[in-house]
Each structure stands twice: as C-alpha cells, then as structure tokens.
Amino acid sequence: MTRQTRFENAALTCITVLAGLIWIFPLYWAFVTSLRTESRVVSDQAGLLPDEVNTSSYVDALFNTSLMDWYINSIGTSVIITVVVLLTGMMCAYALSQMEFPGRKALYLIVLASFMVPAQALVVPQFVLMNDLGLINRWGGIILPQLVVPVVIIVYKQFFDAVPKEMKEAVVLDGGGDYTLLFKVFLPLNWGITTALGIITFIMSWNAFLWPFLVVTTEDMMTIPVGITQVNDSFGVAYARIMSVALLAAAPVVIAYLIFQKRVTEAVMISSGVKG
C-alpha cells in the first residue's frame, strides 16, 4: 500500500466515523435524556455524558400511557398492510408481467406514474374520500390508503419479467394455471424479494405518521408514532417521557432490523433501484 493510499484510507475512515457520529448522536441523546429525571433534563447541569440512570420515564410510559394499545394497533395495522400489500402487489405485478390484456401497458404506466406522486399530495383527496366513506376513526380508514404501494408492484414485475418464458410454458404443459404459476413457481423463486419487500413495507407502515395522525382522533385507535404526540399533550413538555416512548416505539423495528439486517439492506437497495 502506498503512502498516498494509506492517507486516503485514513481520511475516508475519519469522514465515515464523523458521519456515523452525527447520525447516532440524536439516538444517543434520546437515550441519555430518557434516563434522566424531568428536572435534570431542563437543568443547566445536564451535560453530554450520561450522569443519571432513572427509569421512571419508562415506567410512566409503560403504565401511565396507552403505549401497549398503541403497540397492538401498530402491530395489527402493519401486519395487515404488509400482507395485503404483498399479496395484491404480487398479483398485480404477475398480471402486468405475464398476462395479455388490452390496456396492460397503460396500466403499468399508471402504476409507474403513481410511484412518482408524493404521498403528501394525496392526503387531502384521500381524507375527503375516507370521510365520504365514513371511515374516519375506523380501522379501514387507517389501512386502506396505505395499501397502495406502487414500488412493490414495480419491483415484483421486474423479477417476474426475468423468469424464463419456458418456466411458464413448462407449468402450462404440466397442467397448471396462473395461480399455480404464481404461488408454486414465481413466489418460491422470488422468496428473497418477498421477504425484503415485506420487511420494508412493514417498516414503512410502522413508521407512518401523517396519515394515521389525520385519520384517527381517538387515543385507543392510535398507532405508536401518533401516540407519541399524546404523551406530549398529557404531561406537558416531558422530554424524558417523550424520549422513552420514542425509544420504546422504535425498539421492535430496531430488533427486527438487527435480526433481518441483510434482508433490509437488500430491500432498500432493490426498492431504490441500486440492485435489481
């Protein structure tokens, strides 16, 4: 290794470490804050280093808020959204990839176009629609608009397009139809992508804030990200409690990430078009 290469490597390492520190600091600060008493948090003595281990904010969050309800709501809605999004996404992608019907190309272009519309732009019409359907403060109201995830269709279609034509013809000759082909060949062949898309959809749904915040006003139907706002309301500006709820809210996703780290990275790369 030349001297110049060594210097470049060292510089790159320093930049990476610095970026990592910038990224991790808010998490570190949230954790340190959550372990302090409220008075300590706002006092002049509070420094950057952890100086107190006080779990009262966690006890408050767990026993004096609806955190467990919000957990259940978040798990329930995220699981339903993930399952339905994957199922409808793969079936739609299968139709667009493998079936001949009039308007197929136009339909795919619509899916592509909808991928380019930011979710925020749809909030108002979706709210009006859900209101007209009487789905405000209903599970259907939370879930339905989150079921449209064009990127799942696009990614599945890319993978289905890559399956050799002969594979489909072999199934047809073996006496199978479209459902056999999709569920017994295409799905097992693309199991990795299904897992990856499932994880990313679950995380997106778990973290969804804007829509559930607009469509739900009753506390017992809130998901965790929306519930955090209630902690703020109930206790005034209670920084330690807010941080502990935020950390508890993120915990399942962090644990899931640590377990499926490789798959999540793969999913992010696939859905961002880095890998296909």
């Binding site: 050799p164 002969e166 594979m167 013809e169 072999a170 047809v172 000759l173 073996d174 006496g175 199978g176 056999t180 060949v185 097992p188 062949l189 199991w191």
Partner: protein, 357 residues
C-alpha cells in the same frame, strides 16, 4: 402411444406468415426430427403441436384426435426445453413429480413413477438434490424424466442438447436413442444440427421458410435429395456446388461444362437440352483425384482427422471445393489436382434449385 398428423397447418404473426401450410405425419412410435436453419419455423411448429402457439389454420391430430384447439395439458404431450426449464426451488424428485402433484395423483403412485423414471435415466442417486447441484447433462435428464413421468402420447424436444458441450451432446444423443427404443414412444425433436437429425431420426423433415422442403428417412435425404437446399443442408461438410451449362446429352445422362471444368451426370428422366444452365452438386466423399479432365483445383488447407482428411481446394475461378480423402496421410497442401466423380454420384439441379433425376 399415438402418432402425430398435421394437415395444412399455418401460423401467422400479424402480417408475417411463419408456417405456410405444413402437412406431415410422424407415425406412432417413430422418432421424427424437424431440422432447418434459424427462422425456418421448426420451433414454432413444435410449439403449435404442444399447444403453446395458436394455430392460424389447418388441423393437428394426435392419436387420431383433433387437438387443434385443445389446451396444452390435455393434448397428451410432454415437452423438453432447450433451457431445461427446471424449477430451481424444487428437488429432482419434486421436479419430476410436479405434474402428477398438480393432477392430485396419490403420493405412492407419484413416488413410484418418479423412481421408475429416475432408474431409466440413472438419476436414482440424485433425487434429493436441487437442479443447481447437477451437471448440464444431469439437468437435461431431469427434464426428460419430468416428461417420462407424465406418460405422454408424444414427447416433444426443442433443441434439448444445444446447451451441452460437444462430448456430452454425443453421449446424450445415444441416451435419447436408447430411451426411444426402451419406451417406444412417439418423439418429435427440433434441431438445427443436421448430425443430430441424421443420427436420431426415423424420419427427418427439412424445413425452410415455413415449408417442408423434403421428408423421409435420413439416408434417403442424404442419397436422394429433392432440391438443392436439402442437398446442401444434409451432410457435413456440405455438398459442393458448381454452376455450368449442358455441353452434351445422350441416353445415359449429360455432360456439364462450367468455368471450373467438366463433369458427367447420370440422369434417367428428361434431360435438359444443350446450352441449358444447371447447378451440379457433389458430396466431398464422392470427389476424387483423376488423371485428366474433371475440375482443376489447388489444395489450400488440409484438415487431418486421423482416419480421413478434408481437403479444402480452390479452382482457378475462385470456387471453393471440399473433398474427402481416406487412407492416405500424404500432405497435398499447395498441390494442383484434377477432381472428378462418378456420374451416378453427381446431382444436377435446375437454376431454381429443383433436382433433375
């Protein structure tokens, strides 16, 4: 087992006619081979028999039953693809038993049939492996096994050996011949390789531009081609062709003189008049050095194959001629020779390619 009969079968893709009224029959238990250059329609024809392509016109019968509009799975055919089309997530046994599982066959029956097919194809030790753990030849055998398990009336092979190396291809060719003799099923095989066609077929169907140019036993096509295309396509190295004009005719045949020289052709039927343009064809093994007359050529390259050699020569007018030599290893490179042939071994064709007999 059943035979396959096509009557005036046609296929068009939009305005393009790909199959232009093909009629042929592969009798029950025979091995028929569709052979022809790329784009001649041979694979399309096979896919039409399988039901993977719709038929624009005509009738397809399998075992006397009109299957023209019957869905693929109900035609009683099984197909082996060039790319094997194995399901990578299933084991060899599961791949072979897939169709029976879809047909909800009892597990015991399924396993018995898979075991029997594996025994025939010497795959018994590989039943639990995934296709990715197999060699190319083994994968191809699994694809054939998947077809055998279905006990079809007709086996269809779409260039199944194209992905294998030369040695394995020869081995698989022999195995296919053995398999055909063992199970006695009707088989239709598509290839662009005329050696595969010659070695495997009971009947060869030579296709060009969506037409059957000639069909028959392999040696019949080799010895007695109907037209210039079949004469040139069947046989390796290809037949030599020389243009010329009839310079003399008598009861036994004609003498043709071209820029390269002169050859005599034996003809039984109508003989073209003197001055008529004809195309002569001579197979490499029928050309031989002669003392005088014939075609003067210079040997440019000698391909030594051990038992025989192919000598690539060039005439004074630039025509390339190949002749085969057996039993001598004397290098003739750079030498000038006169090549001749027995009149009965020289074919004559009209300028539009039809054979004169």
């Amino acid at each position: 087992m059943s035979g396959v009969k096509l009557t005036n079968v046609q296929k068009s893709f939009g305005a393009v006619d790909v199959i232009k009224g093909v009629s042929l029959e592969v009798p029950k238990g025979e091995f028929g081979v569709f052979v022809g250059p790329s784009g001649c329609g041979k694979s399309t024809l096979l896919r039409m028999i399988a039901g993977l392509e719709d038929t624009s016109g005509g009738k397809i019968e399998i075992g006397g039953r009109d299957v023209t509009n019957v869905e693929p799975a109900k035609r009683g055919v099984a197909m082996v693809f060039q790319s094997y089309a194995l399901y990578p997530h299933l084991s060899v046994a599961e791949n072979m038993g897939f169709s029976l599982r879809l047909a909800r066959a009892p597990r015991a029956e399924r396993e018995e049939k898979v075991r029997e097919a594996a025994r025939i194809l010497q795959l018994s030790d590989h039943l639990d492996k995934k296709p990715s753990a197999l060699s190319g030849g083994q994968r191809q055998r699994v694809a054939i096994g998947r077809a055998i398990v279905r006990e079809p009336d007709v086996f269809l092979f779409d260039e199944p050996l194209s992905n294998l190396d030369a040695e394995l291809r020869v081995q698989m060719r022999l195995e296919l011949t053995r398999l055909h003799r063992q199970i006695g099923a009707t088989m239709i095989y598509v290839t662009h390789d005329q050696i595969e066609a010659m070695t495997l077929a009971d009947d060869i169907f030579v296709l060009k531009g969506g037409h059957v140019m000639q069909s028959g036993r392999p040696l019949t096509l080799y010895d007695d081609p109907d037209n210039r295309f079949v004469a040139g396509f069947i046989g390796s190295p290809s037949m030599n062709f020389i243009e010329g004009v009839v310079s003399h005719r008598d009861e036994t045949g004609i003498t043709v003189r071209g820029e390269e020289g002169e050859l005599r052709v034996a003809l039984q039927g109508n003989k073209p008049g003197e001055g008529t343009k004809v195309m002569l064809g001579v197979r490499p093994e029928h050309l031989e050095p002669v003392e005088t007359g014939g075609l003067p050529v210079t040997v440019e390259v000698a391909e030594e194959l051990g038992g025989n050699s192919y000598l690539h020569t060039r005439s004074a007018t630039g025509a390339d001629l190949v002749f085969e030599r057996r039993g001598s290893r004397e290098s003739l490179e750079g030498q000038t020779l006169n090549l001749g042939a027995q009149p009965e071994n020289v074919f004559a064709f009209t300028p539009d390619g039809m054979r004169l007999r």
